[in-house]
Subunit: 448 residues, 3 copies
């Protein structure tokens, strides 16, 4: 059963990726991109330390080998090998003994979640630190502590990967996910795992109207670095994009509109939510908080890129701490995300502009086998549910033909038909096969 | 008294047209057009059988001379000469004896209206059949029946007629009505009768800004055939149009918006309903169901043509059966329709763009005799209702002059004045006579 | 204390201007403009009697020296020297004895305000008359009255004044106030006094983006005469304008939208009311009633000029009569009007289009000292109110940078930040100083 196989395969990939100590640069990032490269044909890119990317600069690589904190009696308080969240991400090396009072300036806890080890980063200001559960922190007794972080900053590169899945046109759909968080499930691995498995779904489609671009990069600095190279191309070619984040959890989908607020992808997700095809909620665009859509939607680019999530950052206890694990997230929810996002993309493939090929006067439907050849009360009298469906289908045909005028998108026509775009799929295929309509075209104004 | 005369004249025309067995082609159609031609100077057109008109083809002419159904004992069950609805419209000839079981495949009834003879057509699929009241149908006993239909299909033509009533400009208003239903009152004769009498009203107007075009054609195939010849002209010249259907009945008007939803005629009818000048309701445009507006509003033409009705198809028991007679419909309601549609057209004649001829600073109203020459509390103190009307008139003058700027239609100005366009008519005449405004112009952006 | 000084200075100016018998022409008008010229560097203009200005003509000058009405016993009933409202403004000369019955045709009272002397004018129709309180009127006994008006109509000129306060650009803001009413406080002197003191505020500003134009002219005929000369210039250069009227009284501000309804000044005042920066209410534009905005917003000009008032005409008992004095109006409310209108103008100076100078990807805020250099729960945990303000400031910075794209005005950005434009002032200064944004520009579409 494919169902089981796909979930099991995701689970397996998850378990390989989870223990790796990723950061915005370094070996953990490269190892992660290498493993993902087994699932889709990724091309890996490296940009040298010190390179200017817009208002940013590629930092040195962070190499972390080991780290521990020992108490006055030599007991291990925090051990990087047990949980890589214990060390502040991008910590400078240190190896010395200090009193508790001084040490406290380097300890991070979350009193509201006293059992969780928080996730702390200090990418652009050199410091060192350890993260503990607040309960462990409260047990610390005065005395001399030994802090040891075996890390190193070296001139290296920032890495990201991408692959292109070609379609019939060069108009593109972007899937972008980030790979820079250490051992956390929903707010890291959900995105790249869903993206990798989604790729394999799309690769099996019989045809793709759009060309699909999958990008894996560290969050923020990675997408900025990516845009520095590919941003102009995206301005030219991008039809729609999705940033993947937090795609696990038992909730419905949670979609953050692109900055344009009414791009094709915005309208499609809204449509699928409104018609009940998918369960989910919309959020407005904001440059405050979020993921890489903040870069894609920066004013110079203003790309039609939304953000798709499920149990979204900030809304669950495990956000940015050690509680964010496989049990909280569930692999099954990732499988559901693959299914649902595939449906959104099928919607985009179907959407667009259709053109009635006989736009002057009504199409003579009976000539094309689309209409009863008698007009009598009896025809409706003995109606069954099936005949009702025929009536509904006839109404959709008439509506579609009338508004397939180069000015109305399929989404707009579906709204007039009071149904989803998928409810119109068979009719569209039928009318295309009979030569009555052509499409879908991507842009309005194609004309007759 | 003209009132009586006009109603009586309508009644007389009705009685001449009612018995004729019309169809989408043939002698009944031609006879109807000939009779209408006594009331307005119609030019008749014929398009040959087999001619392609867009996605359609002109069918053979249907000639029906006689038809009856005799029972096992020779009793007449259905007689075309008594009611032409008894025969399925476009029935093929037949003359044979058959058993009741087989006959039933050719009988049509409406069990929901057991006393009504339904109206059934089979234009584009050759078959034969009879229509009965369901009560008669239930009485049929087994045995041999004699079916006789003396009809014929011949290569001939499809006919339609039109006339042009010229106005000051070549921008046109179209009145289109259909003439293809046999003996039914509201859903056939109401339209052409109202159109014929409306023509004579417009012909008596002192001036017409628009050129009026009256078209009588069989429904659907007729308007498609008409558009095949005159559609491009209409795209070029048409300002507004109305399809007449079901204009009898004691209800208010019922207007179906054009596909554009906000054309001049749409806005005018909406305005007259909203301001209470006319009683009626609006329906949205839909390509599902309706009359010839479906052709005028097909996407290739998308003409500004609405549909005007009163007791609209589908909403009354007599729809498409023998209950649709003069008593149900009433001739008086046709007279009311003429009055009300004439008012709508007067509204269109008045509407448009007016241009203030002194647009820089206010017009000095007292210099033109439009303002009291003293500003004192006494002037308002002794105010009577009449003076209040003067105040209201002054406000309307100020509003009209301010917004007679080439960008606001009269409808928009009337809305600002919180009155109907007709309430502004005297003021407009006054200001035109004083040379203070010019208009109406048809298009926006005329400028100063 | 400057507060006291400014109010006292206004009070002193009020007392100088109040007794003067102004009209739309003549010595009273000139004297008023001369006195105002001591407060701001006015250039005075004169347009000759008989000159055509659009649909109007400059009238003769009215010179009034004295006027009184004596009763049958020689008692003084009305004395121009005591209150210049006693004589109908623009009265023709008269010196004769007449019976009470005839006299009554020349007497004006307001029965609804029996103690008030009404203000009556007859500019464009030659007549003479006296205005009395209704209580005095009721006491008049039959007999012979002596009417004496020592007035004269001479060929002269209509006067108005203006001054220009230059700014960095030639885009202008107009302040227009009228000077044609005799001894009334709110509906005359409030406007020119607020304008004169506002001028001196603006003159002290460190910089002005806009050039400010102050105009003092008789109402209606004066602004029409002004537009006849400067209207084309204003069409070219005017960014925003305000007509000052009725700026006294204890109520909040009362703003009448310009004819465009959404010009910059309309949006700014609306914004300041909505955000609670100023207390006040909006009225829609109407050409019915009002002050000189009727001329600036006549359709040929359609300038972005609103009208700002406080205790607005028609809404208070003293309107257009002798009750409109300093006690009703209060000088302190004029001081408040200067403050509040200065704030509106500061808003306009701040509003406009800002351009993010690093629009590709997010600005790296920590590099510019605008962001904490660590991302940890502790940073928020120990948050104080001050830290909350930092979070709010950070959100405003992100929102401003994202929408500083050449398409969004500061007003629109402030709305997204849920604050007033003034709340963003420090952030704007900060970002400009750091070279992160440029602006404000006046027009949209400046681009990156």
């Amino acid at each position: 059963m494919e169902y089981h196989n796909e979930i099991e395969a995701m689970d397996y990939l998850f378990d390989r990726l989870f223990p790796i100590c990723r950061s915005i640069t370094g070996p953990g990032l490269r190892e992660t991109l290498d493993i993902l490269g087994e699932y889709l044909p990724l091309e890996q890119f490296g940009v040298k330390t010190g390179t200017r990317v817009f208002d940013w600069e590629i930092p040195k690589e962070w190499h972390i080998r080991n780290a521990w904190l020992k108490g006055p009696n030599g007991e291990i308080i925090a051990d990087f090998k047990k949980n890589n969240l214990h060390v502040v991400n991008y910590s400078a090396p240190v190896n010395r003994k200090i009193e508790l009072e001084e040490l406290k300036n380097h300890l991070f806890t979350d009193p509201n979640l006293p059992d969780a080890i928080p996730y702390v980063t200090s990418y652009y200001k050199e410091r060192w630190g350890f993260c503990l559960s607040h309960n462990e922190y409260l047990k610390l007794s005065p005395g001399e502590y030994h802090v040891f972080i075996d890390s190193e900053f070296i001139n290296g590169e920032l890495n990201y990967s991408q692959t292109i899945l070609p379609g019939q046109t060069d108009r593109e759909i972007l899937i972008s996910s980030y790979v820079c968080h250490p051992s956390m499930a929903n707010n890291e691995l959900s995105g790249p795992i869903v993206a990798a498995f989604l790729y394999n779904r799309l690769a099996k489609w019989k045809k793709r109207r759009f060309t699909y671009r999958f990008v894996f990069a560290p969050e923020t600095i990675g997408s900025i670095t990516y845009l520095n190279r590919f941003g102009e191309h995206l301005i030219d070619k991008l039809h729609s994009g999705l940033v993947f984040t937090c795609l696990g959890g038992q909730t419905g989908l949670n979609y953050k509109l692109s900055r344009r607020q009414n791009s094709s992808i915005d309208n499609m997700v809204n449509h699928l939510f409104k018609t009940g095809v998918l369960k989910g909620t919309l959020r407005p665009f904001t440059p405050i908080g979020g993921s890489d859509e903040r870069q894609y939607c920066s004013p110079g680019f203003n790309l039609p890129v939304g953000q798709i999530a499920r149990m979204v950052y900030g809304s669950y206890p495990g956000y940015h701490n050690s509680l964010d694990d496989k049990d909280t997230m569930t692999i099954k929810s990732l499988y559901q995300s693959v299914n649902e996002i595939e449906l959104i993309l099928r919607g985009l493939e179907l959407d667009g502009i259709y053109i009635n090929q006989s736009p002057y006067g009504e199409v003579k439907l009976d000539r094309h086998g689309l209409y009863p050849d008698i007009n009598a009360p009896g025809a409706r009298k003995h109606s069954t549910n099936q005949v009702m469906d025929q009536r509904k289908q006839l109404n959709c045909i008439l509506t579609l033909l009338n508004f397939a005028d180069g000015e109305h998108t399929l989404l707009e026509i579906a709204k007039k038909c009071n149904c989803s775009v998928f409810d119109l799929k068979d009719i569209i295929d039928l009318l295309i096969n009979k030569g009555l309509i052509k499409g879908p075209f991507i842009e309005k104004g194609v004309g007759f």
